[in-house]
């Protein structure tokens, strides 16, 4: 009995370990590349002379920090607007009954269905005509397609789980509506709001198609800018690896920090106990 249990445990952990190596190896490989000089890039695997020349090149002789700043501005802006508009929308979907409610809710969700590449060309034409091509506003706007549906649907589930009597009780207790929202409802939806907002941030940060076609000259998020290290004649793998590694850091840090809330936060509101 115990021997069998132990065997199962070994097999399970062995399987997980293999999967972890499989999943993490590309990241490790990328990390190793950041310390290789161009000369050693293709001739060595694990044994080489480590150098910081790539970091120096990226941070001091390119516009890397500007790209990061652009990514940060559009991603944060997108999430902020999604939260500010999405939370009231989610409340309306959860509490009020109005005509075509479910149709509209589904419509919002369906924004996530279409492949980005499918809508991006018409959007490009529109953006050129509206004069928001290659602007922060333009990117923040289009990122709503990525972040808004997620926030609305997760937060709606949370609102639906809060019994309406709690709001009534707060009214009777003497609170005006905005204080009920901030003091009573917001703490209750916080887990869902935080996890979905952070997930949206990661999605927006990683977005490639939209910034590639709707921006790229004045506004350059890091996902698009990273391709600049592929020059005409030479490819600076080392510098690209540095750029990629550093730009993946915010996502990784967020994912690790919220990991505990992430799964629970996203499923808690939706699944009725």
């Amino acid at each position: 009995m115990t021997a069998r249990k132990r065997l199962v445990a070994i097999l399970q952990n062995g399987g997980l370990a293999i999967y972890a190596i499989f999943a993490l190896f590309p990241l490790l490989w990328m990390f190793i590349l950041t310390f290789k000089s161009d000369a050693e890039m293709l001739t060595t695997t694990f044994v080489f002379t480590p150098t910081l020349i790539n970091y120096e090149q990226v941070f001091f002789y390119s516009d890397y920090l500007r790209y990061i700043r652009d990514s940060f501005i559009v991603s944060t802006g997108a999430v902020l607007i999604s939260v500010l508009a999405g939370v009231p929308a989610a409340y309306a979907f959860a509490r009020y009954s109005f005509k075509k409610k479910e149709t509209i809710a589904f419509q919002i969700l369906s924004f996530k269905f279409a492949p980005e590449i499918l809508v991006v060309l018409p959007l490009y034409m529109l953006y050129r005509q509206m004069g928001i091509y290659d602007t922060y506003l333009g990117l923040i706007w289009v990122y709503q397609l990525i972040s808004m549906p997620l926030i609305i649907w997760v937060v709606r589930g949370y609102f639906e789980d809060i019994s309406v009597e709690i709001e009534h009780a707060a009214q009777v207790d003497g609170y005006p509506w905005w204080q009920i929202f901030l003091k009573v409802l917001l703490p209750l939806i916080k887990p869902g709001l935080v996890s979905s907002a952070l997930l949206c941030f990661i999605f927006a940060w990683n977005s490639f198609t939209f910034p590639l076609l709707l921006a790229g000259i004045k506004v350059e998020p890091i996902t698009v800018a990273a391709t600049k290290y592929l020059a005409q004649s030479t490819v600076h793998y080392g510098q690209m690896a540095v750029a990629a590694t550093c730009s993946a850091l915010p996502s990784i840090i967020f994912a690790v920090v919220i990991q505990k809330h992430l799964v629970r936060g996203l499923s808690f509101g939706a699944v009725k106990g």
Binding site: S163, E165, I166, H168, A169, A170, Q171, V172, D173, G174, Y175, P176, Q179, V184, P187, L188
Partner: protein
């Protein structure tokens, strides 16, 4: 402390009319019970008084002022919700303190501490103040919800089935405490229940509600002994009242009542001028004889005036039992002591205490009368003056 008035209040939800032309007047310091079956509109009345819902028609007045346009925060009402509606992320202390921290009823923290401790001690939850609602039993949550209402000095307490989810022992205990508390606080209270024991024992006056309409308002004895119609009679009382479908037959000696299940044994109705006058005014000769189970008696041998039937069931309900006899296609419930040696389907003989019956119109199901109406009226008057005297004492 306030008088609450509802004048022709109608509330609709889409096509459903939840309240139809409801008019009520709740006196200052009164303990008023709204009683009715599930879905009758009891909670809707509370929500309309609290301002959580606004009626489509009619006027709601608190202390003579029309409050239709006043939001809940400014009506100064305290409400206990059926599902407690505690703030799940706040401790018991913060839950109870919540009204005193709102912009409307703002108090300093020193005052809050005293008030919360006082309410918590009263509700016997002072040792739970640091806990979250999820760490409490239903009975404790219920008391926190009551505490949150009691911590204030509102115009009116609105209590929505506050004891419904408690176990029997705690319910009996809390019932006594609630009545005592209301007496001490001397605040108008409106209490919703579907438990007739609660309604009878707590109420200064009871309003019976069904399908969004007020059926009858009165002191408990009035409603128990002189129900306005069969519905009220069936609602008030456990085991339920027996209703015997009879035909009223006039002969030279007065009236007899012929029960369709036992036509061979007509009930002779004793002479009573007022009642006979009402009989004569009836358009139809169909009446329903309402007999409470305690006014029907069983015998194992035939006695004078008994009707034969068989034992249909014998259920023990606590300190007494209900013996149901089958006569024809009807069932007649009687009260019996526990442990009575009866077998199912054995013959049984039932007599009816005719002086205690309540007569209903067989067609409209409305109340016609009863023999001891004068005595009941005297009782009712006593009860009324007692409750108004109580209110007067509280004034002083």
């Amino acid at each position: 402390m306030a008088k609450i008035e509802l004048i022709n209040v109608t509330k609709r939800f889409g096509k459903v009319t939840a309240l139809k032309n409801v008019s009520l007047e709740i006196h200052d310091k009164e303990f008023f019970v709204l009683f009715g079956p599930a879905g009758a509109g009891k909670t809707t009345i509370l929500n309309n008084i609290a301002g959580i819902q606004i009626p489509e028609e009619g006027v709601i007045k608190i202390n003579g002022e029309i409050v239709n346009q006043v939001d809940p925060a400014h009506r100064n009402v305290a409400m206990v919700f059926e599902n407690y509606a505690l703030y799940p992320n706040k401790t018991v202390y913060d839950n109870i303190a919540s009204p005193l921290r709102s912009p409307m009823y703002k108090k300093d923290e020193g005052y809050i501490k005293n008030a919360v401790m006082k309410a918590a001690t009263l509700m016997k939850i002072d040792m739970l103040l640091e806990r979250l609602p999820s760490q409490l039993s239903n009975g404790q949550r219920q008391r926190v919800a009551l505490g949150r209402a009691l911590v204030r000095d509102p115009n009116v307490f609105l209590l929505d089935e506050p004891l419904a989810h408690l176990d029997a022992k705690l319910r009996n205990l809390m019932r006594g405490e609630l009545k005592e508390m209301q007496h001490n606080f001397a605040t108008t209270s409106i209490y919703v229940t579907h438990d007739f024991m609660e309604a009878m024992s707590l109420a200064d006056r009871i309003a019976i509600i069904d399908k969004g309409e007020i059926i009858q308002v009165g002191v408990s004895d009035e409603i128990y002994y002189m129900p306005k119609n069969q519905f009220v009679a069936q609602l008030m009382g456990d085991p339920e009242i027996n209703l015997l479908a009879c035909e009223l037959v006039q002969d030279d000696r007065g009236f007899t009542c012929v029960w369709e299940e036992a036509p061979y044994h007509p009930f002779r109705l004793p002479e009573e001028p007022e009642l006979f006058k009402r009989f004569k005014a009836l358009e139809d000769n169909k009446v329903h004889l309402g007999v409470r189970p305690q006014n029907t008696h069983y015998h194992f041998e035939p006695v004078d005036g008994s009707i034969e039937g068989t034992v249909y069931s014998f259920e023990t309900i606590g300190n007494k039992s209900v013996l149901t006899a089958q006569i024809g296609n009807s069932h007649v419930r009687t009260i019996a002591p526990n442990g009575l040696p009866v077998k199912l389907d054995q013959p049984i003989f039932v007599t009816v205490d005719i002086a205690r019956v309540i007569l209903f119109n067989g067609v409209t199901k409305e109340y016609i009368g009863r023999y001891d109406e004068a005595d009941v009226m005297k009782l009712v008057e006593e009860q009324k003056s007692e409750s108004s005297k109580e209110a007067g004492e509280n004034h002083g």
